[in-house]
Amino acid sequence: MERIEHFEYFIGPQHPGVTGNMSYHLWARGDEIVKIVSSVGYLHRGFEKLMEYRFWIQNVPMVPRICVPEPDVNEILYAMGVERLAGLEVPERAQYIRVLVLELARLSAYLFYFAGVAGALGLYTIPQWAIGDRDYILDLFEELTGGRVYHIFITPGGVRRDLPPGFKEKVRKVLKHLKDRLSDYDRLYFDNALFIKRTKGVAVMTKEYALEMGVTGPNLRATGFRYDVRRGDPYLVYPKLEFDIPVTGGGDNYSRVMQRRLEFEESIRIIEQVLDMMPEGPVITKLPNPFRWKIEKNDVYVRVESSKGEFGYYVVSDGSEKPRRIHVRGPSYTHGIQVAQEMAVGLRIADVPVFLFSMDVCPPDIER
């Protein structure tokens, strides 16, 4: 008579507990997880194959569709990759605007993150507030680039258009609003005794394990390792800006959330500096005729600090007018599959969604 040792259940593609369209097959005994297998591929559109069939400039509208919560990271990566290979020079003002767009995208991604974790914990007021505040940033994007989520604003050679008049004051007003809202978030969310009791000491990740498993970005800093691509492998004008890299160091769900909370303030500081230091000048360099624009055979790996971790493009050109190969490295590539499969074992059933949301696993940038 075969004894039933455990039961299986799914946090599948159709489940509020998963951060996008991914599925986890879990074996549990009582309320403790015994084994977990993640399965991806629900959003695989084969970007890299499609990009090989398109000209260099045709890929620009294609690229932001890779990662939905933070599309600008892909735009800047593709632009930097092509600029390095083609040897284009980007004007100073365009670089400042790019940093402005990137940091605004990071703020909206972090607000999305706070909404996700709070939703998994059951505090439904915070998702309403956070996504409501995120909409202010989307309005700014809409005014600057014409699109709420997919901006297609950063193109190789610079930025599509200059800041509309009065845009800087609008950004400052939104930043001031976000800073005031932070105190409300602290009282209701970050200092909520129940939030701390539910997340402290859950799914603890050590620094060595994170480094070995290729965990990057806020999740790595949450384990106490002070490293940020904007300082480690600087790009655009980040060396000129002064901002520090906060580290919480607990390695558990709580410190991952607080890590993003501290970086939220850092990004606001960066944007304020960018707005003040932005020089005048052109915003884009002339691109050759796209149909005959050939880039000689070369390859480069560019990386950027996205809200989820280190996002990298490996662009290879073979002298034709179409890229030979573009390999996209999303940060959740390691977080969502191997790290989740090893870290989630031993967790309670109630903590698995909270852990997934706190790791900010974004399925589209795993499978592209």
Binding site: F7, E8, Y9, H15, P16, G17, A28, D31, A118, G119, A120, L121, G122, L123, Y124, T125, Q128, W129, G132, L188, N192, L194, F195, K197, R198, R348, I349, A350, D351, V352, P353
Partner: protein, 295 residues
């Protein structure tokens, strides 16, 4: 005549429950800086669910589950005094009967959801029953303090003894009332004790396989359950006064619970039970101690 009066009470309480649900959704929408649905939204939801076609069922017990749940909650309506109107079936010791009747409904739903053979449903039920180990005990201890003081176990007599405003049980038995309020939060399944139907963890728990008409029945059960549970608390601690004041009092107690529901995340089930055995237990025991010293 009694049958007619009972049907009136049944329909009235169901409408009241659905109304409370609608207003609660509007109230929490306001807290979340948005407008929220019209107050009669719950009525529409129930009508839509009852109008659904080819509802899928997993067997006889699955179909009977919501029916038993509905029976249990109608039964407890018999014993609940509404304001100063004497309940249809009131006799000595009916608080104990009421406590046991309040268990029939979750048991019926649990049996039905068990037949659905879905682990999500069963984890929800195991959590619900464990939580019951927490809040039922606290509510009983806080009610027993009142019962021992007035040396009666009839809900109706307790309501009569209290009379109008200044003589509510809330003031002499403040500690027991406070513990009862925390227990009420768990009994109604409001956050932070919203573990039974945690959508992110177990995909809406026991209701995972219920659709169409069964879900409509469960919504009706939930609506009446709100009024019955808050009514029980109101009768024991805030008794007396006309039906209108009874409605206002239950509405206020429910709104208090909904407000707390909006600002708290969920407990883990282990933490919830341990919480119940720590602070509320001590508070209710102190409440009983007060009764002894004061007698």
């Amino acid at each position: 005549m009694v049958i007619l009066e009972f049907f009136l009470v049944l329909i009235g309480i169901t409408a009241l429950g659905l109304l409370y649900g609608g207003i609660a959704r509007k109230w929490s929408a306001r807290i979340q800086r948005r407008y929220g649905p019209p107050f009669y939204q719950n009525f529409l939801d129930v009508f839509k669910l009852l109008g659904k076609k080819n509802t899928k069922s997993h067997g006889v017990m699955f179909a009977l589950g919501p029916v038993i749940a509905f029976t249990g909650i109608i039964l407890s309506l018999f014993f609940l005094p509404l304001g100063n109107s004497r309940p249809l079936l009131s006799f000595e010791g009916d608080i104990f009967v009421l406590f046991y009747l309040l268990v029939i409904a979750p048991l019926g739903m649990a049996l039905g959801a068990g037949e659905a053979a879905n682990p999500n449903a069963t984890i929800g039920i195991a959590r619900g029953l464990t939580l019951m180990l927490g809040y039922e005990l606290i509510f009983f201890l806080s009610a027993i303090a009142v019962m021992v003081k007035f040396n009666t176990a009839s809900l109706w007599k307790i309501v009569e003894i209290q009379g109008t405003f200044p003589k509510w049980n809330l003031f002499p038995f403040f500690l027991s009332a406070f513990a009862g309020l925390i227990a009420l939060q768990g009994m109604m399944g409001e956050k932070p004790f919203d573990l039974i139907v945690a959508p992110h963890e177990i995909a809406s728990g026991p209701m995972v396989e219920y659709n169409g008409k069964y879900l409509g029945l469960l919504q009706l059960y939930h609506a009446i359950a709100i009024v019955v549970e808050t009514g029980l608390f109101v009768n024991v601690f805030l008794g007396g006064g006309s039906i209108l004041t009874f409605i206002l009092k239950t509405f206020f107690v429910f709104m208090l619970a909904v407000t707390i529901d909006n600002i708290m995340p969920r407990f883990r089930i282990g933490q919830a039970v341990k919480f119940y055995w720590k602070y509320p237990l001590i508070i209710s025991l102190l409440g009983i101690l007060v009764v002894f010293i004061w007698r």
